[in-house]
Subunit: 476 residues, 2 copies
């Protein structure tokens, strides 16, 4: 191959793969020549060949550009996600999450609260302030366990609620998900048994799968939560190393454990020396006036790793969480140093700034009231528009509504039909390694109800009715 | 226990654990009463008991504060890290990293370049601009694979160097360390064999340990790099799934593989169907005028996962890296979604802003020149002040100098003696699962040489001389 042919080949490949898009200016002849080591004449020849084949256009005094006509056709690809024959939970969760990126979607499958409920301007102002004053030492100061002031503010917030957490047991993480993953790793090794709720947050199932851990799913009631007798039997029959659960506004069901049950759970796990990984990301989203507490409040031995973040209550997309890691705090820091090294310094400083200067408590009060109001409205609409035989559970706090369709209806079918109408839901299959919740779905009730969302609920009701008809005819 | 006693106990515990520090204002009686559910009188009684025991002081009209005298004594603890009998590599690496947080340290053990060489103002301005304009959709837009514009800019930078990488195979990560960890997980499962260099970046060893993978260390020459014959024998004798290495300015040795060797390496791994995880974090830090290329340039099958970041070349502490993941890009995104979910949105936007508006290339040119100059100066000083019998290797590009002490000297002894003088080094033990490099150390040559650093080099020379005397007397 002549030298110019090689360059022509490279550039075509780059244009096809989207490195250079329609209208982009290619590197100047001089620059291309410098980088490639080819002569100016060779580069010019290559560009002319590309021009003759319609890939680029030359413009007087402004060099070569990728042909604009290519714009809408082959250069702008999107990754298409398709469901494979064997639906594995990760592929499926990935599909649901990707669906949420479509801006026209009515996103009942979304995991976060409506971002318009966040104090965006205040948080951005804090980020600007952090950026403006970022000291040169910030990289060091914010290494694990994370920013000291931020950890102290978090500890004080817990203290005023009566939960004793030292700033020195807190490790700042890349969102609650990193906190949960580190917690899991710090008390298990591949092959170990871990108790999870059934149904549970899919992130727990994914983490277990990824880390080669074995899931022991314990029966979890829609209202009362995890069955402590079943849990104790599991602890007796298996060498369980950790229990991962949510005690407040559980995802996906929405229940909150009673105070007594939280204490019993803490005692039980202590008796069996099993670590508790408590996912409390919805802990702040109680119904205003009815505060809830984590199991951690009963922890006297440092056995509970309480994980949380700001993603569900203040700002999503910043990726800041934490774990109050008890006796495993130092181990946790070491583990973080080898996983992601540290959490972004300016982001830690931005949240420190916000929490020390702005009125987080006032925001939370408003957020809680708004979520409560919207959840009630959505509940009414669901009751009105979903067909008879569908069971709707909406509990105090949080923003999820759990919907049980008649047995035999697969909510994945509902999901696929709904997606075509630009409506997303979170099917029950995402939350279990069993098939027990295949007829269920989780709906996000945090969005404002307008004509579009009301219409979406009506459509969802029609889709479910159709699925019920198809199912009935199958069973005839 | 009476109700007030319980509150007294809680508050004492909180004061001792640093939640409330010397001088901090305790929650008002009203607020404390609200949160605890105790009556105002009970809270008042508890506060008075604390006052009588010297824990708090009351101040007219400003409530109760933690007694200022406690300041320097028991309330302000720091986590002390001590070396256990059995030195495991993680504990040791953690100790070295923690030592670097002391601001008085002359930090020859540091892994990053001198942060004063970074264009801090420009980067901070970009972060401010990102914060000011953060759209509500930013959480979605920056989910895995990460910001599209940022990925396109990265692909274009590679393209101008002749490396064909599509924006769609790039995944933005929390620093290169997450990129490397995800790469490792995407092509292995616990128990698999992975080839690493010996010596190698300690992060690789830590990751293998954490993920239950088995390390196959392949002989790596100080100048020529990995021994390809030894590598091929390893591939023949073991079912190796991945090879993790650096081809440019290797950490800790500093070598760069020749272009021919890079091609041979690529071919060899392809022949054996072994994934290459290429850590290229120092790739931009070549000696100005002598650019280097990653092995990825030869990758026709999408088998190479090229990992890099901005931490060594533009800004540390932001925690943004990426992987050009080839055929494993989609798998990588799914894995990231379950590990850390996503990379901080405003940070991605800040770097996109910097790269599209500022002159990164000009900064890099200056950085390379400065690093080259400082490395030469440090080399001269080391040659002058370290005792005879010490071998100093400083290669083209990068900012590390590799120092071999006479065999039998343990550089961990040097490390401990040096730390007492506020000088840090990176001992050879950090970089190997073998004992082969216990007499070696890596020095960071990126800092400006002033009286203090010159004195530190002189002191280091004295410490090494003393270790040599002790060692000689032991052997007599």
């Amino acid at each position: 191959m002549a030298k110019y042919e090689d360059l022509v080949y490279q550039l075509k490949r780059q244009i096809k793969s989207g490195v250079w898009r329609a209208g982009d200016k290619l590197p100047s002849l001089r620059k291309q020549s410098e980088h490639s080591g080819l002569s100016l004449m060779t580069v010019l020849h290559a560009y002319q060949v590309l021009e003759s084949q319609g890939y680029v256009v030359s413009q007087a005094r402004s060099g070569y550009r990728v042909t604009p006509e290519l714009k809408e056709t082959e250069t702008h690809r999107h990754i298409a996600v398709s469901l494979t024959e064997k639906v594995d939970i990760n592929d499926f969760v990935f599909e649901v999450l990707q669906a949420g990126r479509n801006p026209y979607m009515v996103n009942f499958g979304f995991a976060y609260p409506d971002p318009s409920l966040y104090p965006r301007q205040q948080v951005n102002r804090s980020l600007m302030s952090a950026a403006r004053n970022l000291p040169i030492s910030s990289t060091f100061d914010n290494l694990p366990p994370g920013n000291e002031e931020l950890r102290t503010i978090l500890a004080k917030r817990y203290a005023t609620k009566g939960v004793n957490i030292s700033p020195e047991e807190i490790v700042i993480t890349a969102g609650a998900l990193e906190a949960l993953n580190l917690s899991l790793q710090v008390c298990t090794k591949p092959g170990d048994w871990v108790v999870v709720e059934s149904p549970t947050f899919y992130g727990a199932l994914q983490s277990l799968e990824r880390l080669g851990l074995k899931a022991l799913s314990v029966r979890t009631d829609t209202i009362a939560g995890i069955d402590l007798d079943a849990l104790e039997k599991a602890l007796q029959s298996h060498d369980v190393k950790a229990c991962w659960l949510m005690s407040n506004h559980q995802n996906p069901l929405g229940f909150t454990l009673t105070l007594e049950k939280k204490q019993s759970l803490n005692d039980l796990l202590n008796r069996y020396k099993v670590a508790l990984i408590e996912d409390d990301v919805y802990g702040e989203l109680y119904q205003e006036g009815y505060p809830v507490m984590p199991v951690k409040q009963f922890d006297q031995t440092g056995n509970v790793m309480l994980c949380s973040s700001f993603s569900k209550s203040l700002v999503s997309g910043f990726r800041i969480g934490w774990v109050a890691a008890g006796k495993r705090a130092l181990e946790m820091q070491k583990l973080q140093l080898m996983s992601t090294l540290a959490t972004s310094a300016p982001i830690q400083l931005a949240l420190t700034d916000y929490l020390s200067k702005c009125n987080y408590e006032t925001h939370l009060k408003q957020l809680r009231k708004k979520l409560h109001e919207r959840k009630r409205q959505m509940e009414c609409l669901l009751t009105k528009y979903l067909p008879a035989g569908v069971n709707i559970t909406s509990q105090q706090g949080g923003y999820f509504i759990w919907v049980e369709l008649p047995l035999g209806i697969d909510s994945v079918d509902v999901f696929h039909a709904a997606i075509k109408q630009n409506i997303s839901i979170a099917p029950g299959k995402m939350f279990s390694v069993t098939e027990h919740y295949n007829h269920c779905m989780r709906l996000n009730a945090s969005f404002a109800l307008n004509d579009k969302t009301v219409q979406a609920i009506i459509t969802l009701g029609q889709i479910i009715s159709e699925c019920m008809v198809v199912n009935a005819s199958k069973n005839e």
